[in-house]
């Protein structure tokens, strides 16, 4: 693998996606746990999620915008195919994103009446559950090689539904939801240091870790038929075994740390685990952007654009990372005080 500008930018796209995933799909998976809030501390759980999320909420969104902008600027051929073939799930995901973001802010700033708050909470929670599933389904559609078509004349279902509406795709969607929920629960254990809520989220983190395991094996089984190329590389590629081993070890480490109440350690392990899963997918597809035939190089924009974008990314990073660091330093260490 030689590092060309196209590969470098594809790497940046993955890094941005990685940050988006580490923010647990922008809402820190908060919607799921808002929806599943239960027990005597139900309201306290919801308040905590809202409190943890509010200051960093808007910034989390921008990672996805960055992914899209980099795709259409640097890989226009891939972007246009994705935008045509996945029109339906992407539109549904957008509705989810709009409702999730609006409901969250309406709940924070709207009426203080319980009924209205509860209603917006429901909209927020349901939109938060649907959005990552749809995102996962889009990823699943890409991985199966369903977006290999070059022409879109012909039957509607063939071109606009079948590529994404598959059992495998749905499995990947559930996997995304489970991963985000797992991350969210682990993060929230750290935010609740020294309160009874910590136990609530510890339990939730352990349950969702179990769900991640089950779904991961389910998806692997489904990939046998659905995404043969990806499956083959996931199982047999040269990097496959080391990546699997590391991912597995990290998963075990996260669970062990949760079990022994080493919550900060659990957070690091969980974040690393999810990162490895994401890059495992990227490695299994390499050098294809849209399997089975469109490679990163073939989809890339002219080199002048790529070089300029790399410069812009470098300059942008100099502003972005110090700002993000400042944001998290202000809001994250003394969260529960």
């Amino acid at each position: 693998m030689t590092l060309t500008p196209a590969i470098a930018i594809a790497g940046v796209v993955m890094i941005a996606l990685n940050f988006y995933v580490l923010s647990a799909g922008a809402d820190f998976g908060g919607g799921v746990w808002d929806f599943l809030a239960s027990g005597p501390r139900r309201q306290a759980q919801r308040d905590l999620i809202s409190h943890a999320l509010a200051p960093i909420w808007e910034a989390n969104h921008v990672w996805l915008i960055l992914v899209i902008v980099l795709l259409f600027t640097c890989f226009p051929a891939a972007f246009s195919t994705i935008a045509i073939a996945l029109h339906i799930p992407l539109s549904l995901m957008l509705i989810g994103i709009v409702l999730r973001g609006s409901a969250f802010i309406f709940r924070s700033y709207g009426s203080t009446q319980d009924a209205t708050q509860l209603w917006w909470g429901r909209v927020f929670a349901i939109a938060s559950i649907v959005t990552p599933v749809l995102l996962g389904m889009c990823v699943g559609a890409i991985a199966t090689g369903g977006l290999g078509m070059t022409s879109f004349t012909g039957p509607f279902v063939e071109h606009f539904v079948r590529p994404w509406l598959t059992l495998f795709g749905f499995g990947v969607g559930l996997m995304a939801l489970a991963l985000f929920s797992f991350l969210a629960a682990v993060y929230l254990t750290v935010e609740t240091e020294g309160t009874p809520l910590q136990d609530d989220f510890r339990k939730r983190a352990l349950w969702s870790a179990a769900a991640v395991f089950l779904i991961a094996f389910g998806v692997l089984a489904l990939s046998w038929n659905a995404a043969p190329m990806v499956r083959q590389r996931l199982v047999a590629g040269s990097l496959a075994l080391p990546i699997h081993i590391v991912t597995g070890l990290l998963a075990v480490a996260a669970i062990a740390a949760l079990w022994r109440r080493r919550f900060r350690l659990a957070r690091v392990a969980a974040a690393a685990q999810v990162t490895f899963i994401l890059w495992g997918w990227a490695a299994s597809q390499y050098p294809y952007l849209l399997p089975p035939s469109l490679t990163i190089e073939a989809a890339a924009a002219p080199s002048r654009t790529l070089f300029l974008v790399l410069w812009a990314l470098g300059a942008g990073a100099c502003v972005l990372f110090p700002s993000l660091f400042y944001l998290f330093r202000i809001f994250k260490p003394q969260q529960h005080s």
Binding site: I105, Y109, F331
Partner: protein, 443 residues
């Protein structure tokens, strides 16, 4: 409904919805920062209260603007994949830069909204300044991308394909400066007047209310100069359109026949069938003067262009008339306020002027919608002016009426709720006797 029309309608609705939030996202942070800085300088707690209340409004509007902007970045591809496939590498640059500006805005807005008690007063005010500046820069980058669609530059066209592309030259496109200037001023004028109008309405009932007086003073300080400068910026834009997009100018003016010393038409309804604009008031030679600063210059009419390159003339003409009429009214009100303030008069007690400001409150936003109608509908039938037709860029996905109606319903629903929430915030604003309490509480 044909798919092309549904796609154009969905794009139009999405832009029309998003732009209101984008504009407030540029203007409102400026107001809240000025209020906070005045609080720091004078120690008057009313200014602090104002900054906090405006920031609540900014939070709601920013959130809806952020998600509707996310939708637009996807819709560029969902609706116009062929456009993005060809033009992405050329105009992606301003979008990439906008991504970082927007990131900065989102991060510092979070710090501003939730950091009141966590960071120093100086750092907090600084965060507000960053939000205001990065919001404006973010808007400029998006408008640059749009400007390229009006005056595409930075490539060589070989067999209908873009080759030899230069994204920096594309950003330096001639439409960029006039469009960015006009749009940025519009954001401050519209937000300033809308906020000033709300507080003017309160002051009509309660003219001594210190809270509303201070709010009005800051809002008009931002809105009035911008509304006045918009006359100059409009003149620059008119001359650029005359040079670069003569068909658009002819449509804006309802000008069907090429002539020297062309008249300016006020009002009227263009009829494409009869090839003339009926019921307009014509001012001789004025169009030639405004478009070129020469009373006898030749202005190309629509007859000089093939009919399949005309935009929908009536829509463009009427939208342009609305923008100019309402914009002129705002400029007149702005001028009156500025002169009276300069002569040390207490404008807040002048009921006729306060009523005029209330009347002007929604006008900035109507102007912006009308102005974008002129820019975008006036560019039709082209998506990239002179190069790619809108009809050739639309997605092959059928049944586009479904997403169009869905997103329209979603935006109507959100619009109603946002309006209701803002109304709730406004009716809860402090009465005259609450002001003393705010100060006592702070002291």
């Amino acid at each position: 409904m044909p798919d092309l029309f549904a796609a154009r309608s969905q794009m139009g609705v999405s832009l029309a919805f998003h732009i209101i939030f984008a504009v407030v996202g540029i203007g409102l942070p400026a107001l809240m920062v000025i209020a906070e800085l005045r609080w720091r300088r004078t120690g008057d707690a009313v200014y602090l209260e104002l900054a906090k209340r405006w920031s609540r409004g900014a939070a709601i509007l920013f959130a809806v603007g952020a998600v509707s902007g996310t939708v637009l970045s996807f819709e560029l591809g969902l609706l116009w994949p062929e456009f993005m496939k060809q033009a992405g590498p050329i105009i992606g640059m301003p979008f990439s830069l906008e991504g970082f500006a927007f990131f900065t805005e989102a991060i510092f807005l979070g710090i501003y909204l939730y950091g009141w008690n966590r960071i120093s007063a100086r750092a907090h005010a600084f965060s507000g300044v960053v939000v205001a500046v990065s919001g404006a820069i973010s808007g400029v980058f998006v408008v640059i991308a749009n400007a390229w669609m009006n005056t595409p530059r930075g490539f060589t066209l070989v067999d209908g394909k873009f080759t030899n592309i230069d994204p920096l030259a594309a950003m330096m496109t001639p439409a960029a400066f006039p469009q960015c200037l006009h749009m940025t001023l519009a954001a401050y004028a519209a937000t300033g007047f809308a906020v000033a109008g709300i507080h003017a309405a309160m002051l009509l009932r309660d003219p001594t209310n210190a809270f509303h007086r201070r709010a009005f003073a800051i809002a008009i300080l931002v809105g009035a100069p911008a509304a006045l400068l918009q006359l100059v910026s409009g003149d620059i834009s008119a001359r650029y359109v005359a040079q670069q997009q003569p068909v658009k100018l002819a449509s804006m003016e309802g000008d069907f026949v090429t002539m020297r010393g062309a008249p300016l038409r006020i009002g009227g309804i263009p009829s494409e069938a009869e090839r003339r604009t009926k019921y307009a008031i014509e001012i001789p030679h004025a169009l030639s003067f405004f478009a070129t600063h020469d009373f006898n210059a030749e202005i190309k009419g629509l007859n000089d262009f093939p009919e399949n390159e005309w935009p929908p003339v009536a829509i463009v003409h009427v939208a342009f008339q609305i923008m100019v009429a309402l914009g002129s009214f705002m400029a007149l009100v702005a001028l009156s306020v500025l002169i009276l303030q300069w002569r040390k008069r207490d404008v807040v007690t002048m009921r006729w002027l306060m009523k005029a400001v209330v009347l002007a409150a929604p006008m900035g936003f109507v102007c912006i919608e009308a102005g974008w109608t002129v820019t975008e509908v006036g560019r039709q039938p082209w998506l990239i002016y002179g190069i790619l037709r809108t009809a050739d860029a639309v997605t092959p996905m059928p049944g586009l009426i479904v997403p169009f109606l869905t997103f329209t319903a979603l935006y109507v629903f959100l619009g109603v709720i946002v309006a209701w929430l803002l109304y709730q915030q406004i009716v809860r604003s402090p009465r005259g006797d609450d002001v003393g309490e705010i100060r006592a509480h702070a002291a």
